[in-house]
Symmetry: C4
Subunit: 208 residues, 4 copies
């Protein structure tokens, strides 16, 4: 497969791939809002009913914010991992396409989990989705570390290790969330607060 990359017609420009990735992240992050179902009471009842209906949206809005922040952190992770990528090979391309499928699925799983946060299957769907995204980013980092001819600047040892801890964080948190979910589904969704905190703490390790 190595010789494919050498042939000019197989060259996949890093720039155009990043445009697609950034575009899909931007759209998925914006579509999250469609998961918050606008209340539609009858006009006559609106004044008395709407305040309560808006309050009952709190769990949906909370999960919207959580999902947005997690996507923003994944977008940042993509940014940091690709900082070192110089050439795209077919494997890296397909890891990215799998990442994009699971990112596009997030507005759906957020919608379901936001509507029924106390139903185990709904919350599990969300955790499973986050685990898959996280696992794919972890896989991507492993692949980048093992194929140094794709990289520039060269990856130094501490950078590799820092990126390893950083990219194992998200799938680990999602797995913990999945386990807690078996006992207490709504509580399990709070687990993602550990993601920005953990990423910040790992910021003192070398990166990305």
């Amino acid at each position: 497969m190595t010789d494919h990359i050498e042939r000019p017609e197989y060259h996949i420009s890093k720039n155009r791939l990043e445009t697609l990735v950034d575009g899909i992240f931007a759209i998925a992050m914006t579509l999250l809002v469609l998961g918050i179902s606008p209340p539609r009471p009858q006009d006559a009842l609106a004044k008395s009913v709407l305040p309560g209906m808006i309050e009952s949206l709190v769990p949906q809005v909370f999960l919207f914010i959580v999902a947005f922040l997690v996507l923003a952190l994944f977008w940042l992770g993509h940014h940091r991992q690709f900082h070192f990528v110089h050439k795209i090979d077919p494997v890296l391309l397909w890891i990215n396409i799998l990442i994009l499928i699971s990112i596009v699925f997030v507005p759906f799983s957020t919608d379901v989990a936001g509507d029924y946060p106390d139903v185990m299957d709904a919350a599990l769907l969300f955790h499973a989705n986050m685990f898959i995204v996280g696992f794919l980013f972890f896989t991507q980092w492993r692949y980048i570390c093992r194929h140094e001819h794709l990289c520039e600047p060269v990856l130094e040892k501490p950078v590799k290790r820092g990126g390893f801890y950083r990219s194992i964080l998200a799938p680990a948190i999602a797995a913990v969330g999945g386990i807690i979910c078996l006992v207490n589904p709504p509580l399990s969704l709070l687990v993602y607060i550990a993601l920005p905190v953990g990423t910040y703490l790992l910021g003192h390790l070398p990166s990305p």
Copy 2:
């Protein structure tokens, strides 16, 4: 945190952040139209009922235009503030992510307020959303002014002051809107007409 920015792996390219910001603004501005609910009368009744139904959409269309213009002004504000930003540090990055969450929420709050402009809670939701966006832009400008090592060209005193007045305008108008809303919700939504007018008048002060 300052030394983070020095390490190449922490470098967040201004260009890729602007792409995400522009993308999310473009999508949020376009999704606003989904808040105007297309009338769906039965085919047999359509000819007699539809004209009235289209007329009753006027408040929704009006708020769609208001929200679009306000978002366009915020996009412009981002453009102007980032004109001086040369390097992105983690704090600036997170201010931007918070700005994006509140921008993505706008199609939802516009939808609710457009459907029930005479219900206080619906109009308040819209004012609160606009206040938060405005306040975050104000915070961003303060942060930029106080961290001159991120800037290029250097910020001169009158430019700082001009940007200060300009970025305090939106949250001030949203706060006034919120107060009027306690008395007269539909009227309070007209307050945003002051935003383009005020921005124009402040155009005679140094900028951004």
Copy 3:
């Protein structure tokens, strides 16, 4: 206002404006498809009912294609007019923002007109929307021609005249559509076939 453009902080980059414009065009063109309501018969009836339901979507699909082509032609028109624009001044910026509002409205008016092509008000909404977009593009071209300091390369006389005919075509066709609509709404929607034909014929005149 001229001295505003000279001040660096008022500089609006042509590049970032084009990104916003291209983004909003791309999203509006894609959202058009949401106007085609997917049939949702009950599973038990689907086999017998669905074929007829799909056939009855023909007018919606037809108008979807028309609206997509018209938007593509407007996008192209933007491209051609901006070929000559070198600097953006505040007036040009605001013409663009007005263009974008009316572009974003197109998925809504297409949805309504596609659902009720034989109701006069629905078809008129579509013609009015198209007329406004066309008129704004016409206005933009006039403004560009009269403010040559914004242009590079310099606009030669035949180029100006060619662009004039070209940009008067869309609003003229929409106006004719509006008049035919008073007599025969569904027929009036066919009028836009004249737009690609006319643009092609005008291609023999100097451009844009």
Copy 4:
């Protein structure tokens, strides 16, 4: 028509066309998720009913993944074909606009086929859509091969032939899918698994 391209005002920048194409691909790929209808049981019933409802979404999710992968492959095909394109002429522009219309239609046909995979007309709609996209890409490649003045680097014979086989693959698979569909609609949707496999095998031929 050749002299049109020489005139500067007819110049359509490859870059801005690619931005529109990438944008529309990104949005269409993300809108696919809206085709998966989130289950909305009553709160009281949710715990007992939701698991079964989520399971019954499997065919929709499967087709969502298929459609996403096919769109990703088309996006890649566009990337590869445009690698050789240096200048855009009006015919190439219009082939691209037709490609975009049929890409934008994919979320709709995927939605219908995902909801009713065992109804022949629904699955046929999907195959027809895929066939049209594939046929347009095939046409585009033929056009590029026959208009070498638009190309750079020059197309060598084996590259032309490789691109020919590659671009005939998608419409051929869609045609086979359409034929199988007459006998067994749900089975026919599995045919697209041959697309990544076939593209991989053809990777040993010269490209794109």
